[in-house]
């Protein structure tokens, strides 16, 4: 524990505290967990990118139906393979932390739900979302009629300009009224 803490120097630590919603202990814990996923020979943890399947082994993300999307959204790698560097990892934890604001959370939630990355939530996005939420197995998923009915209802409620998709502002408008969102959109290491 002592060696890993000393690898994260004080200057970086205080900068991270300025830039994220995390406290010092949370950042140090994040660094510790991140270093555990590093391969043995890698010494400089801050620049290495951990591949997606290693990140998905974390117990906090393992059972989450959106885990792959989360990795893709927070990844800044050029090859779009979902690998996370330490900066990305901190970004992830900061957005999901207890003290993050509603705007940040809703912004990232929108991007996570946007499966095809086109900037809006269309029918396909919503269908994939429902399938993720119902567990994806055959006996728990909805019939096509039910799916259509459900998506029609959702668009009826949230699509203000009636263009068949939910864009960021509409999404944020819906989410800001929900009392549950902030408390359930949380991941703690």
């Amino acid at each position: 524990m002592g060696t890993t803490a000393s690898q994260l120097d004080k200057g970086m630590l205080s900068e991270y505290q300025e830039l994220t919603f995390l406290t010092k202990q949370e950042i140090l814990l994040a660094y510790k967990r991140f270093s555990e996923l590093l391969p043995k020979e890698e010494t400089n943890g801050l620049s290495y990118r951990i591949p997606m399947n290693a990140i998905l082994e974390l117990p906090e993300l393992k059972t989450n139906p959106f885990n792959k999307r989360i990795c893709m959204v927070f990844s800044t790698s050029d090859s779009h393979d979902g690998s996370l560097s330490f900066d990305d990892f901190l970004d992830l934890l900061s957005a999901f932390s207890d003290s993050a604001t509603l705007e940040i959370k809703s912004h990232y939630a929108f991007r996570i739900f946007d499966f095809d990355d086109d900037g809006t939530l269309g029918r396909q996005d919503l269908e994939k979302l429902v399938n993720c939420l119902t567990g994806g197995t055959v006996d728990t998923s909805l019939t096509p009629e039910e799916m259509k009915q459900l998506i029609d209802n959702i668009l009826e409620e949230s699509d203000i300009d009636k263009d068949g998709t939910v864009n960021l502002s509409e999404f944020q408008h819906v989410i800001s009224r929900s009392p549950d969102f902030v408390s359930s959109f949380k991941i703690v290491l």
Partner: protein
């Protein structure tokens, strides 16, 4: 540098500083934020130094340095405070296995523990410690000594368990404290401290509960209409990201699927045309049955208290008879809620409504029990007060006799006879200690019943289901007993009422708060273990979403209800004549009058007497009533304004929709206006053309301005929600100035403007 330049530079520095403070709120990538942060820091450091030089700027430099130090101190303090919060790991484990609703109980428990710790610190530091350190020791005065008659049995375990014997004459209870006005070298005013701590307990708890309620109300998102976004919320907010366990996740999937299917079905079919009369009849019947059982339980408690008074006169009591009252109360609290639940099956409500009814009924049960208990206790107190009169005479008589008899053996008439041995003095019936003992016994039996219930109801059940399953006819795990689910509402209510009892009893038994602290501490570990080892995640997860404030509201109500008896006794009942810190006074609050008269300077006394004048108090009360009325009407006005604004937004959206779809206005108001206009082609040009919706594929987050749309009433922003309709007519060709927000006209590859 000239003054103007200085001022401008200072402004820029301030801006940079604000940027630094809010940089974490921007949804940008870490790299970009890092670059910006470093840039801003460099700018600030460079120019702040410059600004700090020169004449008259020393103050500025100093202020800047102090601000930096203050910010650093605040951040370190926050880190320290977060590190001090206990049981984070434990709660996180529970959260990942059971979801956030079960964990909310443990968070509530931890909060209670913190509050009780502070109360304990107050009581211990200001009342118990001074008496122990600076007051007279045990055995020196009658109130601190076990009477001669009881001394043989004072150390027996059974006597101690009843809180008699040495327990009764110890710092745990009111009767031990001496009524000396000041004690020790420091002239510590114990009676005043006792009263102030008693009232301060309520004041502190009140402040804490209200502060927590206010904080919760902030996060809640205020006034969302219940049914407004049911489907969207189910989709976007139902997953609990804290879940880290596969079984819980499966349960969550199942419950989400069920709730989707149910809500789809609800939308499709309307009110089932059931037999309304039968349902109403059943509901009335259920309520009648429940009222009967509530009444029955109240009467049972009254009866048992009366019996315990009779028992007090006998000596040969069995263990059951001695503890009958507490046992009955705890058992009622255990048996009635499931009874209510079974009766409520008759009512056939939606689960969420049924839960609310259940909570209300359990609340009524506990409240009724507590208050019946209190009334019965008051009867006892009054009896004791009557007794006091006669005992007072008897003890004075005994004292006279003792001195008269004593002078005989001593020939030297100058010697003063030693005071009577404290063990021999006849003590009054000290009703406050009796009340304190009742509360302590009640709390202890409550603790015992709770722990036993968990042990038997959850642990034994789990053991039986697990091990008997191998040799039983039906599948125990899936079928009848199966594993228990964690009863959140029952546990929270139990906690709330336990706290109510503590608040009531703490004035008469200062040690009660200490007992409660121990109880909460052990409860945390015990229940965490029990939940992880013996419970399974809930099958139907529906969050009573504003439940945090609901339980706080309940706590507040219980606080007020437990304040009432204590304040009543302080104000109107006379304290015992020979025990406790207020002995010898007419009323307990006389100690305050005494302090004002003797300790504070003369003018304060006159000040207080003026302030207590009814002529001053009545106008003050009137003023407060008027203030409440005024605030009420202002809030109503705001609500009306909100409704109007919402309507306006809706109208604007409808208008835009209709314009886009080239249909006539459906809004009656607009239609009338249009009819009035002489030339139809002059119809609404007011709304500017919409700007392009930001649609960059990589999702670079520079276009998050839309985020404010949800809150703003700005018509411009609203209009920007509309997508760029490729079939749009005129507006698209208008001057770029109208769209001038720095957004590229390219959009979705639309190229040049469409042909006119």
């Amino acid at each position: 540098m000239s003054e103007g330049e200085m001022a401008r530079l200072m402004e820029e520095v301030e801006e940079k500083k604000k940027l630094i403070a809010t940089i974490r709120n921007k949804p940008w990538r870490m790299k970009r934020r890092l670059v910006l942060l470093r840039e801003a820091q460099q700018f600030v450091d460079k120019f702040e130094g410059a600004l700090g030089k020169g004449k008259g700027r020393k103050w500025y430099a100093y202020k800047v340095m102090m601000t930096k130090k203050w910010i650093k101190f605040q951040r370190d303090f926050e880190n320290f405070r977060t590190a001090c919060i206990p049981w984070e790991r434990k709660i996180k484990e529970v959260e990942s296995h059971f979801g956030s609703s079960v964990a909310s109980y443990f968070i509530f428990l931890r909060w209670m523990y913190g509050m009780n710790l502070v109360l304990f610190g107050l009581t211990f530091g200001l009342v118990v410690m001074p008496e122990v350190l600076m007051g007279l020791p045990y055995g020196s005065i009658p109130r601190k000594t076990v009477p001669r008659a009881e001394q043989d049995t004072a150390q027996d375990y059974s006597v101690l368990m009843d809180f008699n014997g040495y327990c009764k004459y110890s710092v745990l209870f009111y009767g031990y404290y001496n009524n000396q006005r000041t004690i020790g070298l420091l002239k510590f005013r114990l009676p005043l401290a006792y009263l102030m701590v008693g009232l301060g307990t309520f004041g502190y708890s009140l402040m804490l509960v209200i502060r927590t309620m206010a904080k919760n109300a902030d996060v809640g998102g205020g006034d969302g209409d219940e049914g407004e976004f049911t489907f969207a919320w189910k989709m976007f907010t139902s997953w609990d990201y804290l879940i880290g366990n596969a079984e819980t996740a499966d349960n969550k999937y199942a419950s989400i699927t069920t709730s989707f299917k149910e809500s789809i079905v609800d939308e499709q079919e309307n009110q089932k045309d059931e037999n309304i009369h039968l349902r109403r009849f059943l509901r009335v019947l259920a309520n009648f049955l429940i009222t009967c059982s509530l009444g029955g339980s109240g009467y049972l408690i009254y009866f048992v208290v009366k019996r315990s008074q009779e028992f007090a006169n006998r000596d040969d009591l069995s263990w059951y008879e001695k503890n009958e009252l507490e046992l009955i109360m705890s058992l009622l609290g255990l048996v009635c809620p499931p009874l209510f639940e079974t009766i409520a099956e008759l009512e056939d409500y939606h689960p969420r409504i049924a839960l609310k009814w259940q909570l209300g009924r359990i609340f009524a049960l506990f409240l009724g029990n507590l208050y019946t208990f209190l009334f019965a206790l008051f009867d006892e107190v009054n009896t004791k007060l009557e007794e006091e009169g006669s005992i007072k005479n008897a003890s004075i008589w005994a004292m006279k006799e003792y001195y008269a008899n004593f002078s005989l053996p001593v020939n030297d008439s100058d010697a003063t006879p030693p005071p009577m041995d404290p063990g021999d003095v006849i003590l009054g019936p000290c009703w406050e200690t009796a009340v304190g003992i009742e509360f302590v016994k009640l709390t202890v039996s409550d603790i015992q019943v709770t722990y036993l219930t968990i042990l038997i109801g959850d642990f034994a059940r789990a053991v039986i289901v697990r091990f008997l399953n191998y040799c039983w006819c039906w599948d125990l795990e899936a079928g009848f007993p199966s594993y228990g689910e964690f009863d959140i509402s029952g546990n929270v209510l139990g906690l709330v009422f336990n706290q109510g009892m503590i608040w009531m009893g703490a004035f008469y038994a200062p040690g009660l708060v200490g007992i409660n602290v121990l109880r909460l501490l052990s409860s945390m570990y015990y229940q965490c273990w029990a939940v992880m080892a013996t419970n399974v995640p809930h099958e139907r997860v529906f969050k009573a979403s504003k439940s945090n404030n609901f339980y706080m509201g309940l706590l507040l109500l219980v606080l007020f209800l437990s304040l009432l008896p204590v304040v009543y006794t302080i104000m109107s009942l006379p304290p015992s004549f020979d025990c406790g810190p207020f002995s010898g006074k007419e009323k307990m609050f006389d100690v305050i009058m005494e302090t004002i008269d003797l300790d504070l300077p003369a003018f304060m006394g006159t000040l207080f007497s003026y302030a207590a004048n009814p002529g001053l108090i009545i106008p003050a009360v009137l003023l407060m009533v008027l203030a409440i009325y005024y605030l009420n009407s202002t809030s109503e006005a705001y609500q009306n304004a909100n409704m109007e604004l919402k309507k306006k937004m809706q109208m604007a959206r409808d208008e835009e929709k209709n314009r886009r779809n080239n249909t006539d206005s459906t809004n009656q108001v607009m239609k009338d206006l249009e009819d009035l206009l002489p030339n139809r082609s002059l119809a609404p040009p007011a709304l500017p053309e919409p700007a392009e919706k930001p649609k960059e594929p990589e999702g670079k987050p520079t276009k998050t301005r839309g985020g404010a749309a949800g809150k703003g009433v700005d018509l411009q922003k609203d209009v920007s929600l509309a997508s760029s309709n490729p079939n749009a007519r005129e507006p698209v060709t208008r001057a770029p100035g109208a769209r001038g927000r720095g957004q590229p006209p390219g959009g979705r590859g639309r190229g040049g403007p469409p042909p006119r």
